[in-house]
Amino acid sequence: MALSPAAAAARSIAARFRVDWPGFVLDVDLALPGRGVTALFGHSGSGKTTLLRCIAGLQRGEAVHLAFGDEVWEDSARGLFVPTHRRPLGYVFQEASLFPHLTVAQNLAFGQRRVARTERRVSLEAAVELLGIGHLLGRAPATLSGGERQRVAIARALATSPRLLLMDEPLAALDLKRKHEILPYLERLHDELEVPVLYVSHSPDEVARLADHVVLLDQGRAIAEGGLVDTLARLDLPTAFSDEAGVVIEAQVGAHDERYHLTRLDFAGGQVLVARRPEAPGRRLRFRVHARDVSLARSRAADTSITNLLPVTVTALADADTPAHVLVRLDAAGTPLVARITRRSCDQLGVAPGCAMWAQIKTVALLA
């Protein structure tokens, strides 16, 4: 299942693109991991979809060098361009884009038939099972709901046994209910397949829930790149996250407290109590802590209703989205946290880098 580091490195993606259109420039030079989910994250117009389309070969850039592992897909210096249909990738568009003249089953078979038998690693049955669309096979795309259509589109892409899966905001065209219908399938994809995924999104929640690695794009440039936890906790990148500043923490279900109906989540920097979860102890969960839900105290408050108190060290301060607030970056035994407090409190408490303090976490948002 897991790749050796060397094998993963061999599959990494080197992408250098320059696109220069009137009013829009994309200029990136990225080395993306060849495993896990990498989110291309940014506002609309930041160039994330253009970048994805360039990687797929659906769009041509100017100064381009694109390599997938040791295969070069595009090199404008040598005039090399591998057309989209010869790149071993799967692509999921924002709208499902199923072929309306084919049934669901025929849509799924369309791509798979065109892949050499020896290259087929994902069976139709496996793709159908993974996306839970067995009952839809005989239907026409026009009779499906938006969420069902998108699941078929994802299965159709998987059935080509792609070595790289590109997803362009696959949930953006869906309402909240449908999003929650599809997210678990995307998580299964992440857990059960070893195909690297590039996932375009402008939703911090989707990114926090699905991604392992984040590339933050702004006006056609990659302004930050790195692991999910570290990148989200960076204070110098507030523009994209603005009012949603916060961190993502990977935790494990520790134990259940049946009396108070609580569940303990353990992570590197300590533990938090949350309302009783259905997951069994040992299950991995991600949760988000919004900066606005974290307050600071000089000492461990005993007379508070807040359950979750963590000893932290202040590592940095930065301006928040309003002049009345500041963002404080904290370190909880290796796990980064961000607090958003008023400038007044900051001065009164004498918050400065190096201070040892207590973080009071009002609520955490579980991403599952």
Partner: protein, 228 residues
């Protein structure tokens, strides 16, 4: 009843008309499909001029088109020299000449419905096919043609019916040679000239019914939504 009423010469004209329309439609689908595809997809500055040339027969009197084709295919014309050099001989006043004239004259009736149908398929379907490993030809035959099928049906019907209904170009290029270039519309003209109104009625009535049925089929079909 009609079989007895129509003379052998008139039956020959009917047969010739159907043959001309069939051959013309087949050639137009073969020539018009790539042309319509190009017009639907290109961003070339030639798109406008080429589209305009294809549409010319819609507005030109058939005599103008017929005149230029006659000159071009004549012994001094560029096409005429080539056909003579190839040993085919001259095309005016032959069935082949009629086919050439009809192909030009009915071109917009085939190209425009196809172009509209291709444009309606949309870029996204082509991109989806490419990401599913289908090359351009593969995509054309397995995605574009099935999705543009209503356009192909409309183009065939209009191309066929319009060729059946042409008169001016045929008269200019083909003249009026029984069993070779004398089509139904010309035969009707002859009957009227000769004051043979009964024969003219039969052929003219037949054309009227044929055209009505064709258009009825076309317009009723458009109400049917093939795929949504």
């Amino acid at each position: 009843m009609a079989i007895d009423a129509l003379s052998t010469a008139d039956w020959a004209a009917v047969w010739l008309t159907l043959r001309l329309a069939t051959v013309t439609t087949v050639i137009l689908l073969l020539v018009g499909t790539p042309l319509a595809w190009w017009l639907a997809r290109t961003r070339s500055r030639w798109k406008g001029p080429v589209g305009a040339v294809v549409a010319l027969p819609l507005v030109l009197p058939p005599t103008v088109l017929g005149f230029y084709l006659l000159v071009a295919m004549g012994p001094q014309g560029p096409v005429g020299r080539v056909t003579e050099a190839l040993g085919i001989g001259l095309l005016p006043f032959t069935f082949a000449g009629l086919v050439v004239g009809s192909v030009f004259y009915s071109m917009p009736f085939v190209v425009q419905p196809l172009q509209n149908a291709f444009e309606a398929v949309g870029e996204r379907m082509l991109e989806a096919a490419a990401t599913l490993r289908a090359g351009p030809w593969d995509t054309f035959f397995t995605v574009v043609v099935p999705l543009a099928r209503p356009g192909f049906v409309t183009a065939s019907i209009l191309g066929f019916a319009h060729t059946v209904g042409e008169f001016g170009v045929v008269l200019m290029i083909g003249g009026n040679i029984p069993e070779r270039t004398r089509v139904v519309s010309v035969a009707i003209y002859d009957h009227v000239e000769a004051l043979e109104y009964a024969e003219a009625h039969l052929l003219a009535g037949g054309m009227l019914v044929f055209s009505f049925v064709v258009l009825l089929a076309l317009y009723t079909r458009k109400g049917v939504k093939a795929w949504r």
